[in-house]
Symmetry: C2
């Protein structure tokens, strides 16, 4: 593999480049970002060696790493442009709409639907770092629809980055991610919102915030440009997760209001088993 | 200062001992815990040198570090027992009820109402470590009601531990903490609950959980023995915070349901200012 082209030079796109360059020799990485400042930063940081809107015909891999609302159009356009030996994969947080959109495309076999479970609350090329993807989970959907020979190019990169591959349906992916990722972001943003509203009356309220608050509110620093489209894109699954969350909060609220200390204790004790489950996942 | 007695030998009580021993010489630290296993662990870990239910009359400092539902009775009992040169402080997460309870006590001036903003999701003597309190905020309520001379004993310890003192009314403390601590714990527990419920249908759901989920759900590992009483104790303030949180979630849910991507973007962008606020607090 010699040539990689990355569209969307933010946290993920940038980290794919920096990680790949650390592990693979003689790579030429070009790329594009709609924001001229990101283009410039990506050049300065060595994420890309050249800005180029369209990948060369002999490009091995094209990585699409733009927000969810732009990925569909970009994916179809990119498939239309690429040569026969190029594989395209996206790293978007939702997978159903992209796989549906490309189902009938003549170059469907040159596309791999992927989603690395990796990120931070920061965004842009300056947030990228070479180890972001190291030993992270990479979800792959509809693997069987991608050309066997072209897949090898992606595997070469994924192995170099130590990504741990997991395979599932696009619908299953979107359903799961609504619960273990999208809901976390909403709970965190709304926690931030609730305390910010309180700050109108109580100016020094953040002085008392400890590490617990910092941990639960961390995702409220995330990029709205990335998250607003995800919330729209995965709407049905997210509403489902959010309704469950609000129902649980309301029922817990009633236990507090009724002073049911034992019931509160029992419910929290039962949720504590998440300790072992998260430990197992490591 | 020579003698400290600690009742409740868990994460906080244990860390006060280990931190104090690191910084102050020739201390004798005794203590008590209602759980015989904690007594034994505290002896083994060097948190205390002797188990003793009642502090000696010449004890300098008694630290009360038990769950919120036991602190009131324990505080009154301890005040009744101590000699004239002993100062008692508690480290509970709510302050109004304790200051009210002791308002008319003949030894009120031997009590200091305190709350260190420090903790982890773990509990018990084995979770204690000597740097837990290092450079953390210590909230003090009704400072003026504590004897000037006895206060010096607490200050000697607080300085040794590098605690940063903040002063406020007990009511203000409880109101603030409901938002920046208690609500975070509830949001985290209910997030854990919601995903655990989903796991009934989707067994592998936790495989997809990344660092964002881990961060927001971390507090769901916290001790129910500590948290159930706090939720009951600070009920009114917590219901107020929780109602604001549920209202924000419901309104955000409607924006998702209506596909209002721009409104979602604007709301998240405005919440992003929490970045700067948290940065300032460092």
């Amino acid at each position: 593999m010699k040539k990689i082209h990355i569209i969307g030079l933010g946290l993920l796109g940038g980290s794919f480049s920096l990680g790949a360059k650390k592990k693979l020799n003689d790579l030429v990485i070009t790329g594009f970002d709609i924001d001229p400042k990101n283009q410039k930063d990506a050049l300065t940081l060595g994420i890309i060696s050249e800005v180029k809107e369209t990948p060369d015909l002999d490009t091995d891999l094209v990585i699409l790493a733009t927000p969810a609302d732009t990925l569909g159009g970009l994916l179809v356009k990119t498939l239309d442009q690429i040569g026969p030996e190029t594989l395209v994969f996206d790293v978007g947080s939702t997978k159903s709409s992209l796989t549906k959109l490309t189902a009938g495309h003549p170059k469907r076999s040159q596309y791999l639907a992927a989603h690395p479970i990796a990120g931070t609350e920061y965004s842009g090329p300056k947030a990228a770092f070479e180890d972001l993807l190291d030993r992270k989970v990479m979800i792959i959907c509809e693997l069987e629809k991608t050309d066997l020979h072209l897949k090898e190019k992606a595997y070469e990169l994924f192995d170099a980055l130590n990504l741990k591959l997991r395979f599932m349906d696009p619908e299953e992916h979107d359903r799961h991610l609504a619960f273990v990722s999208h809901l976390s972001h909403i709970s965190s943003f709304m926690l931030g919102q609730t305390v910010l509203q309180k700050m109108a009356d109580e100016k020094n309220i953040f002085d008392m915030a400890g590490s617990g608050f910092a941990s639960t509110v961390r995702l409220a620093k995330s990029s709205p440009a990335m998250w607003a489209p995800i919330l729209t894109e995965n709407k049905e699954n997210i509403l489902n997760a959010l309704d469950g969350y609000i129902a649980n909060l309301s029922s817990f609220r009633e236990k507090i209001a009724q002073g049911e200390t034992k019931e509160l204790f029992d419910e929290m004790a039962s949720i504590n088993k998440i300790r072992d489950i998260l430990e197992l996942g490591k």
